[in-house]
Amino acid sequence: MSAADGVVVGTTKLVDHGPDSARWTLVLLAEGYQQAELAKFHTDADAFVTRLFSTPPYTELWCALNIYRVDIASNGSGADDPAACADGAVGTGTMVSTFFDSTFCVAGTRRLLAGDEHLADTTAKAAVPEVDATVVIVNAAEYGGAGGLVAWTSTNAAAGEIAVHELGHSAFALGDEYGDTLNTYAGAEPNQPNLTIDTSRATTRWAGLIRATTALPTMDNPDCTTEDSRPSPVPAGTIGLFAGGNRYHCGLYHAEYRCRMRALGNPFCAVCAGTIKATLRTHLPMASGPVRGVQFTGTLAPRQTHQWFTHDWPACWHVIWTVSTTTPVTPGPGIDWHVRVERANRETITYWIEVTNLTSTSLDVEARYAIAARE
């Protein structure tokens, strides 16, 4: 049960926003898909890409990303699912031969799904040398995932949420913001940027985001032997110090009552979103060129208004439009114009350019573009 139990079939670039060396490059690996199931992996990978695009802050930093899909055909389908798990959960007992040897019940918790992390990392690097982060999509419907050197997710109905959460661990070093199995943390300040032991208003990690009127700690757990299920004492979006993190009920604090790193289905809190943004922002397209050109020409009758459109412009390009008349007009203005924008799909834009002839004579016009940033 290892790399001998499958073969790397090929690599496909799903999202291309420029050279990998400039972008934050994400690789999606197939695990537990047999050759005949790779079309399903393509669908699962596309669904994850769609989900990631719709998830702030990835949406606004989308142009920082490149995404690849690596097809890997395993001998078996699915993942190992031990019949008995230390947390008391009962699995199916299925054992399958797959490329990364993934299994549920990692560390005795059935929902923890992972495999050979080193092999996943080296496989991603071999396929895409400039890889920054890796998600392994495991062809198993049971709920599961994990985030370590790489992120792992099953194909459960919650897969998109699982993958985004686990990517928070593996790519941005975000910690879990819940406590479930451990009581009180007594160690040093954790490495995760969204967790802290420091309750000082002046020095705690996200002190600059906490209002002077917000109590600190904002919400402590009165019983460190169990999860605190009380409602928030402060309005949604309040940044403070809320007990719970790295599976400890007490001793560690996170920034907001709700966050995707605490429970799936929530948006990222400000601290987690800020951490992701800080990394991705440096990978956005930079100024280039400008590349200039004339997109179209036309003739407008006296007082006529006409709208042209031009489609399939990469959404990540910074495009500036101007319109000029090529017919001399003296005196006074000859034309004016307006640009309207349509996001036709995730990756392309259609520009609608409306030009009005302000004169009583026919005019020739030309619409010019200047691409200020491409890569």
Partner: protein
């Protein structure tokens, strides 16, 4: 020349929303463009206009009004292109 994203945000269906961004150097030649983040194919989704305030000897404030032309809420992204 350098470029960037100044802000993102929602605009309700059929509505206009104005953002402002301050303390831009008057020496910079700044062009503002706006694109939707919400894909909807088939028709223009937004247009925008820029108003300018000389807030001080060394500071310009740009007021960017974005109009959602559609019947559904959209998210938008305002980009700057500084031509210096």
């Amino acid at each position: 020349m350098f470029v960037g994203i100044q802000f993102t945000g929602p605009v309700a269906a059929g509505a206009s929303h104005t953002w402002f961004t301050h303390d831009w150097s008057p020496d910079w030649h700044v062009i503002w463009t706006v694109v939707p983040l919400t894909p909807v194919a088939g028709a223009p989704q937004l247009d925008w206009s820029v108003a300018v305030q000389r807030a001080g000897a060394s500071a310009i404030t740009y007021w960017i009004t974005i109009h959602n032309l559609t019947s559904a809420a959209i998210d938008v992204e305002a980009r700057y292109e500084v031509l210096d």
